[in-house]
Amino acid sequence: MTPVLAASAGNVLVWIVWVVAAFACVGTGIAVVSFSNAFYSALSLIGNLGSLAVMYLLATAEFVAAAQVLVYAGAVVVMFLFVIAYVGPRREVPWAGGPAWQTIGAAVAAGALLVEIIVAVGLKAGGSLSHTDHVGGSFGTPGWIGRLFLADHLLAFEITSIVLLVAAVGGVILGSHTKRGGPDLPPRLAETQREAETEVAV
């Protein structure tokens, strides 16, 4: 680990910004998972994304930060908000439902993943992560990214575009109106349908 205290004003500023952003990130992350109201969860996500954008700036990834705000916060979360509004209010106790072992097991699994990542990073890669070199001025700029996309990573670029196309088509099809007189639902689903209708009334 690098020495926490370094005698430089710029460094201190960066540290402060980093810690604030990190706390915001953590807090909003927990908030997203915890709120029972989906609307609040989506709004927390905006905060999360914003703090992450700050992090990216600190890591000299300007274009990625910009894309994060534009795409994620600007488009994805907006989509979420629309759908949440369309679906309407839902009451849900976040930690309830399902067998008890599932809840505990989920906590254990997530915790295990976290610990493992930390251990992996700390123990194994500790040495090589100790010192970071300076980067050139064009690192992380849009032009630099663009050149990389069209030269070294052209295949990734093209495949990503195809994925986006497929998703767009799929989204349209899924969202289109079903014809009248579709097949009957299986009995279990029909049951949930009736419950859903009563639930809306609540």
Binding site: Q102, G105, A106, A109, L113, E116, V119
Partner: protein, 629 residues
């Protein structure tokens, strides 16, 4: 001469195939004449082969190979035909008598629904029998052997709607299969030693075998011969085989197939001479059979059964002759027997045909007055059978009996049984004649006799009967052992009579006299009992039962073989198959279903469960990764 042999063999096969392929597209008559023509062409081929062999000096004959039929390791067998004196004699008998009988069948089987199938089978049989006698190595002989058994099965069971016919066909086939098996075992021993089944090689191989092995080979061959020729102990199938149509009985179970055993002994006589004990056992079996069959024939009431037991008895004579080493005498009797036995069967067939299928002799009383031609032909056959000169049987049978005199004390026993057999033959044959033919026609006869347009039968039936009657009269004149012996001389290159089996002229004359006397006494007894009714049949119920049940041979085999086998089969079905094997299938299926059901409980359908497993799995993999690296 080999061309003649090939023609003789191929013609009936071509006939059978052609009839089969033409099927119902030709009228039944055409199929019948096609079959007859194919056998006639075979006879022409046989004549060709015979005459060209005659013109060859030394008459040694030759083997002609068409192609190598079988090659396995260092064993190879060719598609070979043998043309030598013995085989040409048999070819002439088989194709000649066969031609007459197939012609007779045209009249006998007229109107039957499945006539074409019958004639195809008849052609197939003639082909099989010719393959048997013409085969140039033991393997082809076995092929013919098996095919003959098959044709016999097909023809005995020809009227397959009758359960008794089907049962009789099965019985014949199974007993013959037993004989086939013993022959195959004998061949295996030969192959193991010499890697060849050619005649010459096999005969020399036997001389190198240990006595046990040689005896086993001969015993195997004897098993096959006894099964095919219905000698004791494999004799019970022949009377039942009378379920087949009468021409079938005439051809297969009198003239040709059942004599195949005698031919086998004559053909493979070097093997038997090397296992002299077995050869004498063959003679003993023949002697025993001729007595037993003669006794059983005394109480039979079915006309065909009487003639069948008579066949069994006469083949016993042939076995006796071949067994002591008098191969030529045995073959000569085979030839004359073919003539008069076929004659007897066919004459009986004329009666049966005229009476609409009745075969019980007690119903046929007095038919002679209404069917004189048949009566006289039957008389000719009967006299030939008993061995009265100048008919053919006299010349051949007495030589056999005389040939047994010089081979030891058992030879004397054989001689005595031969003479007693002649007495029995006289009795049962003329019992049959006196019951059926003379006297007033019975009411049954008056009612059921249907003549064919005023004649006793169609010309296709009467002409062969007439021809055979002539042959039964003159057929024996080509050999009279003391004076002239063309048959023995002709067969010498192939089957030389053993020295011990050569009777002196004195023995011949004495034997002839005794045998003819015995035959005449038999005729007289029959005349007294059945015609004049001055003597009565002694009433000994136990003896009568014994004879009527054929010495309980069928019951014995039933207890020895059939009951244990069917008991085993039933036990296996009941306790093994139904308890153990059958439930296994559904059980296996049920187990698979249960396992699948248990396994499918993992698929809860809940998203959270799946993701949970996913996350857990990733955690575990990460842990392993950390520990390992």
């Amino acid at each position: 001469m080999t061309g003649g042999a090939w023609l003789c063999l191929a013609s009936p096969l071509a006939g059978a195939v052609l009839i089969t392929l033409l099927g119902t597209s030709v009228p039944r008559r055409v199929a019948a004449w096609l079959s007859t023509a194919s056998v006639a062409v075979a006879f022409a081929g046989a004549l060709w082969a015979f005459f060209s062999l005659r013109s060859q000096s030394g008459h040694h004959g030759e083997i002609t190979t068409a192609w190598t039929w079988l090659q396995a390791g260092n064993f190879s067998a060719g598609m070979q035909l043998l043309v030598d004196p013995l085989s040409t004699m048999m070819m002439l008998i088989v194709s000649g008598v066969g031609m007459l009988i197939v012609l007779y069948s045209i009249g006998y089987m007229d109107g039957d629904d499945e006539e074409r199938r019958y004639f195809a089978y008849m052609s197939l049989f003639v082909f099989s029998m010719l393959m048997l006698v013409e085969g140039g190595n033991l393997l082809l002989l076995l092929v013919g052997w098996g095919l003959v058994g098959l044709s016999s099965y097909l023809l005995i069971g020809f009227w397959h709607e009758r359960p008794s016919a089907v049962a009789a066909a099965k019985k014949a086939f199974i007993m013959n299969a037993f004989g086939d098996a013993t022959m195959a075992l004998a061949f295996f021993i030969l192959i193991a030693h010499s890697h060849s089944l050619a005649f010459g090689t096999s005969f020399t191989t036997v001389t190198h075998l240990s006595p046990t092995a040689a005896n086993l080979v001969a015993l195997g061959l004897l098993g096959g011969a006894a099964a095919k020729s219905a000698q004791i102990p494999l004799h019970t199938w022949l009377p039942d085989a009378m379920e087949g149509p009468t021409p079938v009985s005439a051809l297969i179970h009198a003239a040709t197939m059942v004599t195949a055993g005698v031919y086998l002994i004559a053909r493979t006589h070097p093997i038997f001479e090397h296992a002299r004990t077995i050869e004498l056992i063959a003679a003993g079996a023949g002697a025993l059979t001729l007595l037993v069959a003669g006794l059983i024939a005394l109480v039979q009431t079915d006309i065909k059964r009487v003639i069948a037991y008579s066949t069994m008895s006469q083949i016993g004579y042939m076995f006796m002759g071949a067994g002591v080493g008098a191969y030529a005498s045995g073959m000569f009797h085979l030839m004359t027997h073919a003539f008069f036995k076929a004659l007897l069967f066919m004459a009986a067939g004329v009666l049966i045909h005229a009476l609409g299928g009745e075969q019980d002799i007690r119903q046929m009383r007095g038919i002679g007055r209404l069917m004189p031609l048949t009566k006289w032909c039957f008389l000719v056959g009967a006299l030939a059978l008993v061995g009265i000169p100048p008919f053919s049987g006299f010349f051949s049978k007495d030589s056999i009996i005389a040939s047994t005199l010089n081979i030891g004390w058992y030879g004397k026993v054989f001689w005595a049984s031969g003479v007693v057999g002649a007495l029995l033959t006289g009795i049962y044959t003329f019992r049959l004649w006196f019951i059926v033919f003379p006297g007033e026609p019975s009411p049954f006869v008056r009612e059921h006799l249907h003549k064919h347009h005023g004649k006793e039968g169609p010309w296709t039936m009467l002409v062969p009967v007439g021809i055979l009657a002539v042959l039964a009269t003159v057929g024996g004149w080509i050999q009279w052992a003391p004076r002239w012996h063309y048959v023995t001389t002709w067969l010498e290159p192939a089957a030389r009579t053993l020295a011990a089996a050569e009777p002196t002229n004195t023995q011949e004359y004495v034997t002839s006299a005794v045998t003819v006397a015995a035959g005449l006494i038999g005729i007289a007894i029959a005349w007294a009992v059945y015609s004049e009714e001055t003597l009565r049949v002694p009433a000994v119920p136990a003896l009568r039962n014994l004879l009527e049940h054929k010495f309980y041979a069928d019951e014995l085999y039933d207890a020895l073989f059939y009951r244990p086998a069917s008991g085993l089969a039933n036990w296996l079905t009941r306790d093994l198959e139904e308890q153990v094997i059958l439930p296994t299938g559904p059980d296996l299926g049920q187990t698979a279903l249960d396992a699948g059901g248990a396994a499918s409980r993992v698929q809860t359908g809940l998203l959270r469960t799946y993701v949970f497993f996913l996350a857990t799995g990733a955690a575990i993999v990460g842990l392993v990764f950390l520990l390992v690296k």
